[in-house]
């Protein structure tokens, strides 16, 4: 089991710089998710790791080897593509054994390993069929099986679940995690689905416009986003973002004045971020934790089973809140409601740089 390292990786296609200096260390045995909006360079990063694209500058290390100049076949990685890329002219068994055969593994061992992988994935009865005779979900399993059989240094996944329907996607997520636990294989997984990233990753690498925005555990990414981009991208429904500015000893916003000191000069434009989960009823929040009390007008309520999304308005500011079922009864469309913000759940960002600003709350009166 090996880790991997990318050192100041740059990639340009023609005059367009797609990767602008990626530095990343992947721990052996970890499950790392590359997350980011479409076109930010996730696939390009993965493809450079696999050797399918050549970096413009920078180094790629896998284990203790500098593989920067090596061909894909010399890197000993396995990859699962979004469209599965099964060889249409080969049976499933031959698809799965192809990598071993290309590496001159004895036939008997190929058979044992293919059989074992097929058993793990529950696709034994498909081995004699051809890819076109399989459903999307089955093809997906075969693609994963083909990667497992190889026992490679690194598993690379490029949005492997995005062609599946929602239910199957959630099932396969669990299955992939189970496999990861059983095989303890170093995995790098690309997705633009933040829910997938949150549930699967040991570590999330949030990318934006060819740069790494933040690296951290899922909870760090969620609770302490380092930038406006991460804050806005992660979380569903999206974080409420409210414009404001710093005044002496306080943060002024459209929804009220926060008695807190941000480490930015007075007059600096900021954005206040509040997750929809972080709107509370005053009676469920300790008084010392209450940073601000808001009187809101309830615009409408969307039910999502055990939870509901409530759209609220404070002055001209619209806020979305997520509440559990037991609280939903307290809302009525068209009525007023009083809510509070917790001082531990506020995010303040510099509006011009997008960087997170540290917030020191005034001692409670």
């Amino acid at each position: 089991m090996s880790g991997a390292r990318l050192k100041t990786l740059h990639k340009s296609f023609g005059h367009q710089e797609i990767l602008k200096g990626i530095d990343l260390t992947i721990e052996p045995g970890s499950f790392t998710v590359l997350l980011g909006p479409s076109g930010c360079g996730k696939s390009t990063t993965l493809r450079i790791l696999a050797g399918l694209e050549t970096q413009t500058s920078g180094e790629v290390w896998i284990g203790h080897r500098d593989v920067s100049a090596l061909e894909p076949r010399e890197r000993d990685v396995a990859m699962v593509f979004q469209n599965y890329a099964l060889y249409p002219n080969m049976t499933i068994a031959r698809n799965m054994g192809f990598g071993l055969k290309a590496r001159k593994t004895p036939a008997a061992e190929i058979r044992t390993r293919v059989t074992e992988a097929a058993r793990m994935l529950g696709i034994t009865e498909l081995l004699g069929r051809y890819p076109r005779q399989l459903s999307g979900g089955q093809q997906q399993r075969v693609a994963i099986g083909r990667a497992i059989v190889r026992q490679p240094n690194l598993f690379l996944f490029d949005e492997p679940l995005s062609n599946l329907d929602a239910k199957l996607r959630v099932e396969m997520r669990t299955e992939l995690l189970r496999l990861h636990r059983d095989l303890a294989a170093t995995t790098i997984y690309v997705t633009h689905d933040q829910e997938e990233a949150m549930t699967m990753a040991d570590r999330i690498v949030v990318m934006n416009a060819g740069q790494i925005e933040q690296i951290g555990r899922p909870d760090e990414i969620y609770f302490a986003p380092v930038s406006l981009m991460v804050a806005g991208f992660v979380g569903s429904p999206a974080m409420n973002l409210i414009d404001g500015r710093i005044s002496t000893g306080a943060v002024e916003t459209a929804i009220g004045r926060l008695e807190a000191k941000a480490d930015a000069p007075a007059g600096c434009g900021i954005v206040l971020g509040i997750r929809p989960d972080d709107l509370f009823f005053p009676d469920s929040l300790e008084a010392v934790d209450q940073a601000l009390v808001l009187d809101c007008h309830v615009e409408f309520i969307e039910l999502l089973g055990a939870r509901g999304i409530v759209t609220l308005r404070n002055g001209d500011t619209r806020l979305r809140g997520v509440f559990e079922e037991r609280y939903l009864g307290r809302f009525a469309e068209g009525e007023q409601v009083r809510l509070a913000l917790s001082r531990h759940r506020l995010h303040v960002f510099d509006r011009s740089s997008g960087r997170r600003l540290a917030l020191a709350h005034a001692a409670p009166a």
Partner: protein, 275 residues
């Protein structure tokens, strides 16, 4: 009784009738030629005669006492060699055009040689072959046919390679293949229908060519179309023997097309249908 089944049967009948007429129109020349080939010598020149005593005199004359079998062999050698070379060169070429965007916009120009009227090419070819001693050789005809067949085969295959997802060969390369191995072991089998279609297409082009063969070959190396034309002499047209030779020329094309008609149809669609 409702009217619906009746109307249905009526339209069914109309469809069948149309198809029957179409088949009759297509088959008529064949039937006519077959009849001509079986007519006794004194009736051959009377196209209006449909009732006659079948005679195999023409067939025997052509098959046993003429050069036609040798011409057929020549034609086979020329067509097969042409197709083999065209595929061998055209296939990697088409792959490069498709995958590496080789030539860029110039890729349209590969067809120029086959778009040109053969008259333009024949004079230079004739002169070059004269100096190389390739006149009246099968090799010369093959080269001439390649100017026509190779671009068509290449063009034909580009569409098929375009349809192969790039990930397929990338997967093969990650799985341990060199780019060349990925091409041979994964990409080529995937475009097999295209290869078959291009092969037949090229074969027919070469097999049916009269123009190049007529000018470049004379004696020993005459191909079948040249031989067929040869029945038209200054002493008149030997219709009976000509008919036999024509049938011999058409039959292989029909047989080959029949066996790969499925692939041929997909091929003519330019590989538009993905598997």
């Amino acid at each position: 009784m409702t009217g619906r089944p009746l109307r249905y049967r009526a339209s069914q009948f109309a469809v069948e009738l149309t198809v029957a007429v179409a088949i009759a129109i297509v088959l008529f020349p064949f039937v006519f030629i077959l009849a001509t080939s079986l007519k006794p010598p004194h009736q051959v020149a009377e196209p209006g005669v449909w009732w006659f005593e079948a005679s195999f005199a023409n067939w025997a004359a052509v098959l046993l006492h003429s050069d036609v079998p040798a011409n057929i062999l020549n034609s086979l050698i020329v067509s097969l060699a042409t197709v083999a070379i065209a595929l061998l060169v055209g296939c990697p070429a088409a792959y490069s055009f498709s995958r590496f965007k080789a030539g860029g916009p110039a890729r349209f120009t590969i067809l120029s040689a086959s778009m040109m009227p053969p008259v333009i090419l024949i004079l230079p070819l004739f002169l070059v072959f004269y100096h190389l001693g390739l006149l009246d050789t099968l090799a010369g005809v093959v080269v001439a046919h390649l100017t026509l067949v190779m671009p068509v085969v290449t063009w034909f295959l580009i569409g098929f390679f375009d349809d192969v997802p790039r990930e397929l060969e990338e997967q093969a390369m990650i799985d341990g293949c060199t780019q060349f191995q990925a091409f041979v072991r994964v990409i080529l089998p995937t475009v097999r229908p295209g290869l078959a279609g291009a092969g037949v297409f090229g074969f027919v082009l070469s097999w049916n060519d009269l123009f190049y063969a007529l000018i470049l070959t004379g004696g020993e190396s005459r191909t079948l179309p040249v031989a067929i034309a040869g029945f038209w002499t200054f002493r008149g047209i030997d219709m009976g023997k000509m008919a036999v030779a024509i049938l011999l020329a058409v039959v292989p094309v029909l047989i080959v097309s029949f066996f790969i008609q499925k692939h041929l149809i997909r091929g003519l669609g330019g590989g538009a249908i993905k598997s």
